[in-house]
């Protein structure tokens, strides 16, 4: 049975967005983005195995403004998915289901994701000597 012509009751058009639903779909979106990003990881490792020429190419692409934008998106996805994943693991053992706790952990996840992303990028720039 494939998709049918019967009408669906509206959901996205009518249901008010809340922190819970937004963070939930964001977990899925970042997961997909991370899966896509493994392609870059493969490329990077293979290039390192092949040697200088191949490696320089991928390093230059990453260093370009386009590459950095992708890397920023990917690194934020990583930290968000990691933090929200931990939030999920707490739910899996039965903790934190109260709505107030859910909202608190939700905001914690957003904050932690931003802080960790910034921290990683500052570290990265520092190791390149940007602050010396």
């Amino acid at each position: 049975m494939g998709t049918s012509d019967r009408p669906l009751s509206p959901h996205l058009q009518v249901y008010k967005l809340q922190l819970t639903s937004v963070l939930s779909i964001l977990h899925r979106i970042t997961g997909l983005a991370l899966a896509l990003g493994t392609l870059l990881l493969v490329w990077w490792l293979v290039a390192a195995a092949l040697g200088e020429g191949a490696f320089e190419i991928v390093q230059n692409i990453i260093a370009s403004w386009f590459g950095r934008v992708i890397l920023l998106g990917w690194s934020f996805s990583l930290f968000y998915h990691l933090c929200n994943g931990i939030r999920h693991l707490f739910w899996d053992i039965g903790l934190g289901f109260k709505l107030s706790a859910t909202y608190l952990s939700g905001w914690l996840v957003i904050t932690a994701s931003i802080v960790l992303t910034l921290g990683a990028w500052i570290w990265g720039y520092a190791s390149m000597g940007a602050f010396s």
Binding site: T3, G31, T38, V46, A48, F55, A63, G85, I86, L89
Partner: protein
């Protein structure tokens, strides 16, 4: 195979790989952050360390397993045409195994040629 047994197993493996990936991710990111803009020899030197090698191999395996399970759930949610559903899930698994193996081989190659 009993489908509910498979679903339960999928659930557990997803959680197990997730738990393992928490510390591994922090390790991986901190390693990479120090390698930003590095030349190929520095990166290869990092891989050549036996501890980094083992951690990297575990990370690669776990990431691709976790990713494959996650993508599978998304496909199950949104793809309904029966032939397309099975095909896309199978393709995801093949991709994960192939890319994971490629990474494995690349890392081992670096280790033995550094």
């Amino acid at each position: 195979m009993n489908p509910s047994k498979e679903v339960i197993k999928h659930w557990w493996v997803q959680r197990l790989t997730a738990v393992v990936l928490v510390p591994l991710t922090f390790w991986f990111v901190s390693s990479i952050a120090g390698l930003v803009g590095a030349d190929v020899n520095t990166v290869r030197g990092w891989v050549a360390n036996p501890i980094a090698l083992v951690l990297l191999l575990i990370t690669i395996f776990t990431v691709f397993h976790h990713a494959q399970l996650g993508v599978r759930v998304v496909l199950e949610d949104y793809v309904h045409a029966p032939w397309l559903k099975g095909f896309s899930i199978a393709l995801t698994k093949i991709l994960a195994v192939t890319l994971g193996t490629v990474c494995f081989v690349a890392v081992i190659t670096i280790f033995f040629t550094s």
